[in-house]
């Protein structure tokens, strides 16, 4: 081909997505719809969210039956005790537009196992759990978990006895959910910190169960980004 000695590009090839993203953001700022400062502030808020507060909420509930009762009856109030204010943590002071302010904590029992999905989109309790994983957003997970939950859970490595009620929580409106899993055997005398460490994100979604030897979710393939987010 005639292009054998094509010179190396001066810049990386830019995608239509990147171009449109810039165009939309610049126009929105030019027109005063939001400011560059707004964008930066919301981005900074999003950098603060992750799964640790939810893990701590579970650990606290395991250690304190009164707190567990609060967590199950009023998730927003219980969140305050792990440092999460669903209404005021974020610049809007009315919650995040997409996640609202109605956390519901789903208590697993020996006879009841919860798993969360949003079949309609990918609603997720970001203020207390961080951003949703890619697999949670896929049409595949959303199609199958609500109808074949045990098959999908088995793919995540979770198999439950026949007499346990597997309850799929389809998060389709304004509530957001975390699972309060059963406290595992082999954790007697553990501190809140120790217990927090074994409540991973997957346990809080409901596709995994906490285990004394498990401090991280299963390794899965990670689809790399072309131009990943640059973290400060």
């Amino acid at each position: 081909m005639a292009e054998k000695h094509k010179p190396a590009p001066m810049v990386d090839e830019v995608s239509e997505f990147e171009i449109l993203e810039l165009a939309v953001r610049e126009l929105a700022i030019e027109k005063g719809l939001f400011s560059a400062d707004d964008h930066r502030r919301w981005s900074e808020y999003m950098e603060t969210v992750g799964p640790l507060p939810a893990a701590r909420l579970v650990a606290k509930a395991w250690l304190d039956p009164e707190f567990k009762k609060l967590a199950v009856s009023d998730g927003v109030k219980a969140s305050l005790e792990v440092g999460i204010d669903w209404i005021n943590d974020m610049p809007s002071n009315f919650g995040t537009p997409s996640d609202y302010c109605n956390l519901r904590v789903l208590e697993d029992t020996p006879k009841l196992k919860h798993v969360v999905v949003c079949t309609l989109c990918s609603c997720y309790p970001r203020p207390i759990l961080g951003q949703s994983p890619e697999w949670y957003r896929t049409p595949n997970y959303r199609r199958r978990i609500v109808r074949w939950p045990r098959q999908v859970l088995a793919e995540f490595g979770l198999q439950l006895p026949e007499d346990v009620e597997v309850r799929v929580e389809d998060s389709n409106q304004k509530s957001r959910f975390i699972v309060l899993p059963m406290r595992p055997e082999g954790t007697d005398g553990w501190t809140e910190e120790q217990l927090t460490e074994i409540v991973t994100r997957d346990c809080l979604i409901g596709v995994a169960m906490p285990h004394p030897d498990r401090k991280a979710d299963d390794m899965r393939p990670v689809h790399p980004a072309v131009n990943p987010v640059k973290h400060p």
């Binding site: 939309v24 707004d38 919301w42 309609l120």
Partner: protein, 145 residues
């Protein structure tokens, strides 16, 4: 035959691709007669594309994904637009997960739909004109030439 310019090559490629981009019931359709669309097909075509719960699907490998910078920025832009009252999250979901249509729903990436919807709300609510959007996109593109 004269060699096609890069622009004309892209145009011809585009026409070939969109010619194959058709609603798929494994039957080609080119705007059928009304009596060729029974009530079951009417329901299928007018469905909300986001309502996928219970549809059969195969077993896949569950993966995580590294976030693109543009995806992160898109998410923040969408939240800022709602924070500052241009839309609310439910309007966004309606536009992003239903109005875009079945083909875009399954054909484009997740955050691609967020981004298209953010662009669209600006035009629909007359915050910008389409002309302004077109010119801005062209201007941004030029920076990368």
């Amino acid at each position: 035959m004269a060699k096609l310019s890069p622009t004309r090559q892209k145009v011809m490629q585009h026409l070939n691709i969109v010619g194959q981009l058709q609603p798929a019931l494994h039957v080609e359709t080119h705007a059928p007669y009304p009596d060729e669309v029974n009530n079951a097909y009417y329901k299928a075509y007018t469905r909300s594309p986001h309502d996928v719960g219970g549809e059969p699907d195969i077993s896949i490998r569950w993966e995580e994904k590294e976030e693109e910078e543009w995806e992160h920025n898109t998410f923040i832009t969408c939240e800022c637009l709602a924070w500052r009252g241009v839309w609310n999250a439910e309007e966004r979901r309606r536009r992003q997960n239903v109005d875009l249509g079945q083909t875009i729903y399954l054909g484009m990436p997740y955050y691609g739909r967020w981004l298209l919807s953010a662009a669209r709300i600006l035009v629909d609510k007359q915050e910008i004109t389409l002309t302004e959007l077109v010119n801005k996109i062209a201007e941004v593109k030029k920076r990368y030439e």
